[in-house]
Chain length 283, copies 2
């Protein structure tokens, strides 16, 4: 069992990982190996102390070099559920289960706002996992909402099982060209369930047997049952403790300001708080 | 009047200054132009995100370059008092008064622990300001407790007024060689007042007409009357707000972990909170 699991590879996750490593704790770190796409796209960062007018790209490169130099590895999986097993946590990545004594949530702000109805119908027509649930929709018509190219292989997989797939992609250059996969324009506004699942955009309403939402990180409220959320942010105290014992949160997921400097600061605090927590559960 | 005054030039102060500048606020920044001596002395910092195994010296150099590149200036004065003037704050540096709408305290951890009795007898036998109070001790025997070479000129000044000066210096290579100035060994433990002022070390008790304590930063409890302190740290919420309206604190002064990454994170938060506060007091 790991001492800790960190979920998210943005600046807060990076900071937490560096400090846990420095403090000699074992941990597994879930997220994108390319770190934060959002940081990478930042044109110029003028207020990150110690790095003058750095571009987002250079900041991400600096993070990568630093992680590599310390021998820290990223497990490039999407965490689909975190379960309090009373003595420790179970972390589910689709079918794979990992165990850790404590958790750091650094999932960023992108995951905060699910589509209206998404969470309500999760497991009842909405799925986050193509490989887990794809077979339920064999020969049927489905909708996929996809937020990053990294998940296109899941659409490939679904296209071999399902009759037709209508796709809403929130990024440019969608790369799948298959006869039964159709890219639609418009933004998903709401998911409802009548006799079939329905996805509403501003202008239309599309029926489907099921809706897959494929994204880099899942809303923390969905990810961690029982987690206290307020105004769509995870509630933490000054030590980055959540309402759940052994569960810490840092970075944009805890609220404004959405700033890299704030995020790394909280990553550091969360790691220290986690180490203090490990002391209290030592036999 | 300035929008803000920042007190302290460690990592938290640097971060607050960078962000206030970025947000186009006017501010005055008090502290050592050489920034933090404590950071400068750090051998190797392994968990500051984006800077791999940087030495304290290089981190301070990076901070200096960044500040210069943004045209940010430091006012190299010791703040001796901060006064809530109801619509704004008055900041006293010995005889000089400055005004700002709001305050960021980033005074670090060194100032946290005054000598026992120091605060109690401040203004009644204990002084922080040689030029202000020196004449009170004309022709008398005094004690000086000094924590940094930067204040030796104040001892020069006092040596011309007072009969004799006994000095406790908490650094090496004390540089004053005058017939009426004597460097003593031992650590000041307590200040008491009987018919004269007395300074106790572990082994002796020295009498004086007055005791000057010359240090880079004054304990926040003394600096800002009414400020809420707990376990010798300034109490703040997650937005780095203190109990006083328009007064924010960040970095080591707010508590553990005493980490550069945590300090810069809080500096960023304090600056954002201050800017939000300025909005609320706009006419």
């Amino acid at each position: 069992m790991f001492d800790a699991a960190i979920i998210g590879t943005g600046p807060a996750g990076v900071s937490a990982a560096l400090t846990l490593k420095q403090l000699n704790k074992s941990f597994i770190w879930f997220g994108d190996e390319n770190l934060s796409l959002k940081v990478k796209k930042a044109e110029k960062i003028t207020n990150y102390p110690g790095l003058i007018n750095i571009t987002g790209n250079d900041l991400v490169d600096a993070f990568k070099k630093q992680i590599n130099s310390m021998g820290i590895e990223i497990t490039p999986k999407v965490v689909t559920g975190v379960y309090d097993l009373s003595t420790h946590y179970g972390i589910l990545c689709n079918q794979d289960m990992y165990e850790a004594k404590a958790i750091i949530l650094a999932t960023g702000v992108e995951a905060l706002k699910p589509i209206k109805g998404e969470v309500e119908y999760l497991g009842r027509g909405v799925s986050y996992c193509a490989t887990c649930d794809g077979m339920l929709y064999k020969g049927k018509d489905i909708i996929v909402v996809i937020t990053s190219k990294a998940h296109e292989h899941e659409i490939e997989f679904l296209s071999e099982i399902c009759n037709s797939i209508k796709v809403f992609a929130s990024y440019k250059d969608f790369g799948i060209n298959k006869p039964n996969v159709e890219l639609l324009s418009g933004f998903p506004q709401e998911i409802i369930k009548e006799d079939m699942m329905k996805l509403k955009t501003r202008t239309e309403e599309i029926n489907a047997a099921g809706i897959f939402v494929l994204k880099d990180s899942v809303s923390p409220a969905v990810l961690v049952p029982g987690l206290e959320i307020e105004n769509s942010h995870v509630v933490v105290d000054r030590a980055c403790k959540t309402n759940l014992r052994g569960c810490f949160a840092c970075g944009d997921v805890t609220g404004r300001p959405y700033q890299y400097t704030k995020a790394v600061g909280e990553g550091n605090i969360a790691a220290h708080s986690l180490v203090a927590y490990l002391q209290t559960i030592k036999e």
